[in-house]
Amino acid sequence: MKFTLAKPRIFFKVSRFLFPFIIVMGVLCFGTGLYTALVTSPPDYQQGDAMRIMYIHVPASWMALCVYSLLAILSLFILVWRHPLAEILAISAAPIGALFTLLSLVTGSLWGKPMWGTYWVWDARLTSVLVLLFLYVGYWALYKAYAHPAQGIRAASLLALIGAINLPIIKGSVNWWNTLHQPASITKLSTPSIHPSMLFPLGLMTAAYGFYFLLLLILRARTEFNKRKCLVQENFS
């Protein structure tokens, strides 16, 4: 199979071209998103202003799942096709995903105290997201546990693929079992149970998170690529 587009050189050319666009869009979305979320959107009829944590919490959770899905797909490419760009991207994406998961857990916990009356409960949703954080951390630990990164990445990719089984569990947990966490408001088949005036800032914040992820991913991938180039040069000289 030929991956002309997936050659690292071409990827970096395209990403260099897109980079300014991503920065501008990211700043715009974050600015308008935070303003509409924290200032102009109305407080919730029951939760009051505390529901504004949702604008930080929900996109972080979505991104945590998205990044893990990406990691799992990249891992398949690494294990089957031994693809170098997939390696660089997976290594760059994993810590960002861990960051999103941590952010989701922390903001959720801060929301839980005033609303539920507790920081943490061991219900199916919260526990499965905690497992997701452990998967990210385990992925990184396994990758770093080998002296040679080429070995580490294979072991870690296998873990990432096995861990992908957690994704449908996180998504389904609130529907399959009764949990303290509420079921999905938006990613369900009927119309969203969230008012448009609140959906709009949430959409902006989600876009902002997405651009922020792309930005970090490109920067980290560049660093990783250059690091590898240096290693190769050192080995030859």
């Binding site: 109305p42 919730d44 949702m54 009356g117 199916a124 992908a164 569990i169 009764n178 969230i194 005036s197």
Partner: protein, 144 residues
């Protein structure tokens, strides 16, 4: 068969196998993975008194009695109803008609002694004015 096709096949078979295994395990544990029981569950389950458990449902309308820190209310799942006693502070979202989860034990008299009360939020988000309008028009859906 090329080496990479073999790797792909091995991985796919492995993932599908793992998926089936996890599905079987989780459906076997379905009953134990519940975070709380409903009043109906408790009515036909043999529960040892003093056994700690969680029970959840909606707070019955007009059942809340508050005397200082001592609170009593009833939890319903629209089939069965169970009275709850509690001493302590209620969370912000606690109100009649709302979902709650209580943690404690069932006393022999059939009264639930709660040590913790957790409010369960639903998935609806809307501004107060919209909620009021919906109630005015009678479009409010409390039942799900």
């Amino acid at each position: 068969m090329k080496a990479k096709h073999q790797r792909l096949l091995t991985l796919l078979v492995g993932i599908v196998g793992l998926g089936i295994a996890v599905f079987l395990v989780s459906s076997a544990f379905r009953d134990n993975l519940v975070f709380f029981y409903t009043p109906s569950d408790l009515s036909h389950k043999k529960i040892h008194p003093e056994q700690r458990l969680r029970m959840g449902g909606l707070v019955e309308q007009n059942s809340l009695r508050q005397d200082g820190q001592t609170v009593s209310f009833a939890i319903t799942d629209r089939k069965n109803i169970l009275k709850v006693n509690y001493k302590g502070l209620l969370p912000d979202l606690f109100r009649e008609g709302q979902g709650v989860v209580v943690e404690g034990h069932l006393s022999e008299s059939g009264l639930f002694q709660a040590e913790t009360v957790l409010a369960k939020h639903d998935e609806n988000y809307m501004p107060k004015e919209v909620a009021d309008k919906l109630k005015e028009k009678g479009l409010w859906q409390d039942d799900r």
